[in-house]
Symmetry: C2
Subunit: 158 residues, 2 copies
Amino acid sequence: MLKLSKKADYGLMALQYIASVQFGDVAQARIINTKEIAEEHHIPVELLAKVLQALAKHGIVESQNGPKGGYLLARNAGTITIAQVLEAIEGPLGIADCYHDKDESTCLQREHCNIRTPLRKVQDSIYQLLNNMTVEDMMGGTPLITIQPTTTVEGVER
Amino acid sequence: MLKLSKKADYGLMALQYIASVQFGDVAQARIINTKEIAEEHHIPVELLAKVLQALAKHGIVESQNGPKGGYLLARNAGTITIAQVLEAIEGPLGIADCYHDKDESTCLQREHCNIRTPLRKVQDSIYQLLNNMTVEDMMGGTPLITIQPTTTVEGVER
DNA sequence: AGGTCTCCGATCAAATTGGTCGGATAAAAT
DNA sequence: ATTTTATCCGACCAATTTGATCGGAGACCT
Ligand code: FES
Ligand code: FES
């Protein structure tokens, strides 16, 4: 329950990697291609490609075609929130369909619904939570490292 | 994304209804059967039955068999949190599988994962949010949601 | 004890998600 | 300028999860 999909997971990983290479201190800023990210994280290449496509279509990353092509962040890492990424990869997020204002007709039990108002507050809180965290906050360590255990990764403090 | 399943939705509705009848001021406390809840909220009867089974198995509601049987809350409404309900209906909740400590082997990219630590904080915040709201808070139309701001990520306070 | 009403466990169909394939495109090499 | 090659892109298929259903077991009332 509440488990975010593999695609979302892959997307976040890729963004963190791209951001770390592009804005990190250690390496030179360069364009990253799909294959590099996939091999680095051991995830299927083609699936990651599809995720990056979606991100490109929503203006989160820019794509460059041809040899020596790849992806790079479209805007600063601090302005890309987790909520935006998730919404780009999967549909508009919402704890239930009937809480997104527009589709009022879909829910049959709308009239007799008793949990609408309270759950809406939960949804708003979660949304706000995801919207207050950017990919910059995920750039804790140096790029392409294994997780450094127990060292409190700074970056969420802002 | 982040959409909770129909079963969870139905389960919350049923609990709110049971609680309202059992502890509400208006009606006499009595046992509610599945059919009544289903017809009241226009949801498929058999599916709701399965949800209530799960809730009974996890000690959230008590079942009484035979004619004039049905369900009633096992404990006070104020002690049943949303998180407990969701965990009873669906599996253990967690934003991703690899953040629940035990199944370490399942995640292939565990070693090269860079988003583990930050996402874990998000998960903890959501969990805390769902654990601070009880079915009592869903009763009476005056839902009060209290989120004690955690030390992890800011922006969670209401 | 018989009949009926209710919960219960196993089973089946639909939808979503995860994964794969070949083609279009643009940069680089010849 | 042409060919080559590396990359992104969109459509297709398979697996898992979810939604819904069925017949049987147990308990109450008459
Ligand atoms: S379940 Fe749709 S409005 Fe409550
Ligand atoms: S995705 Fe499994 S540990 Fe990060």
